[in-house]
Amino acid sequence: MNKVVSVASRILLGFLLLLTLLPFFLLGINAFKGQSEIIKTPFALASDWQFSNFSKALPQVIRPMLNSLLVTAAVILITLVVSVLASYAFTRYENFKGKNILFYGIIALLMIPGFVMLIPQFVQITDLGLYNSYWALILPPAAYQVAMGTYLIRTSMDAISKSLFEAAEIEGASDMEILVRVVVPLSKPILSTVTIMTGLNAWNNYIWPLVASSGEKTQQIAVALTKLIVSVSDGNGVLFAGYIIASLPLIVLFCFASKYFVAGLTQGAVKG
């Protein structure tokens, strides 16, 4: 009886895995086909391999990808620096006036749905003359990420032994030295988690770039993918090639750091 259950459960698991991967498999095989083959035999491998789909898609996605890379890197950098500084204040200083209120003031932001602020934020960046600029794409998302960043980094930093701070202080180390030499090295795992969490959110952001930018200058990859233009003769194969190119950077990163990706994906939700 148990044997039957165990075999059946493996088959079911395998079936779920296959169904999960199927769309990506279809994406992969159809990216190499011409339009008529995609329509007639979507489930078969290409008989006439169209590698040119990729060279046709590349010019349309490369610029938005570089734009997204710049914005993502900046959001990660700002989030890490600002969250580490804030976390240090809460960990290092035992009692200061308003400590708890200041902490809740940061994490309270996580309760507010982004959509409430969408319209005023758009008006704000327009008034500041930042519409369609990189700063408009970087600062508001970073201002949101720092809340979760501080929450996660502080929790991890609180676990650092207080005697390490005291020892460093007796040695005459300044706050910046303690931060760079003691705190940051000991916080590496949580910093990688926050980096990945923030990076995925920034790279995948759709609604804010849709609102805060227009045209090619600062166009982000998520928006660009929905606006790819292909001729009738090229067909969907070129679109699919574009989707694959846009997914590659994260997939490559994932291959090297899958452990941190799992943490990055789940931690934010668990602690929030």
Partner: protein
């Protein structure tokens, strides 16, 4: 004399220091989040176009919202999506986590989990666009598949038919394990919680001769209750705010079949420049999320802490 001045200066700096470390985060958050949030609440009482028109009208925006048939339909659609999403996150991801946890070899477990995680790094927009192709009326993969197995009668422009559009929007990502926002995250959470089940509890249940079904109800489910509570809360928050999927797949159509509050907010604000009205819709969404989250926190159990 000199030393006392020096000492005083140092203590003042010492007192100010934590605030200095908090200065960047507060400048950033207040400027780009809390001020816009305050503006949203204030402008929800104004007739505002974001520029030259800005006139106080009391609660008229709110009254209009509850008289606006589009907004009311969007609330009903949103309720449908919320219920469907809740059902999804408490079924497929739990099933997959249990099946994976039952695999004996740690190495196979790791490989399978990693394979499930891999699609989660594919941008969400790519997954949505992929499903747009699968569900397309002309030459969509699903229709081609149905025709090839002789079920021509079932072929349908899934997203273009107002009867199936909303269900199709919810169905994308089936079996809801591969994409972070559509069940994958929940799967990872459940699996993590199962791995944390104390081994002696499982052994005790085996000695007592509990079958799989009994073990699931008596041990696994209580172990997962914190995660279930969290995933239900997240499902509600996401359902109230769902935008990317709907906007990319159907823009709320056909007609009003898949209209959601976030799409109404977006269109009223950016297409019609009724930004005061749009802000009021945002505040209503905020209120709905807060109320449902509090109810959920209050009425659902957490995993009991073990000693």
């Amino acid at each position: 004399m000199q030393t006392t001045v020096h000492k005083k200066k140092r203590t003042l700096l010492q007192i100010l220091k934590p605030y200095l470390f908090l200065l960047p985060i507060y400048v950033l958050m207040v400027t780009f989040k809390y001020i816009p949030f305050g503006m949203a609440i204030k402008e929800s009482f104004f007739n505002w176009n974001g520029a030259n028109v800005n006139q106080f009208i009391g609660i008229e925006n709110y009254l209009n919202a509850f008289k606006d048939p589009n907004f009311l339909i969007s609330l009903i659609n949103c309720g449908f999506i919320a219920i469907a999403d809740i059902l999804i996150v408490i079924t497929f991801p739990i099933l997959a986590a249990e099946l994976l946890y039952a695999v004996r070899s740690k190495k196979s477990q790791y490989i399978v989990r990693t394979t499930f995680t891999f699609p989660m790094v594919v941008p969400g927009v790519v997954i949505i666009l992929l499903w747009k192709w699968i569900l397309a009326g002309d030459n969509g993969v699903l229709n081609t598949f149905l025709s090839s197995i002789g079920l021509d009668s079932l072929t349908n422009p899934w997203l273009g038919n107002s009867k199936t559009a909303l269900a199709s929007v919810v169905a994308i990502g089936f079996p809801w394990l591969g994409s972070a926002g559509l069940g994958g995250l929940q799967f990872l959470l459940y699996y993590g919680a199962l791995q944390a089940t104390p081994k002696d509890m499982l052994e005790a249940s085996q000695i007592d001769g509990a079958n799989i079904w009994q073990r699931f109800w008596k041990i696994d489910l209580p172990m997962l209750s914190s995660q279930i509570k969290l995933t239900i809360t997240l499902a509600i928050i996401n359902a109230v705010q769902v935008f990317d999927t709907v906007y990319i797949l159907t823009k709320g159509g056909p007609g009003t079949a898949t209209l959601t509050p976030s799409v109404v907010l977006y269109e009223q604000g950016f297409t019609y420049k009724k930004m005061g009205y749009s802000s009021a819709i945002g505040v209503i969404m905020f209120a709905i999320i807060i109320i449902l989250t509090i109810l959920n926190q209050k009425f659902m159990k957490n995993t009991e802490k073990m000693d």
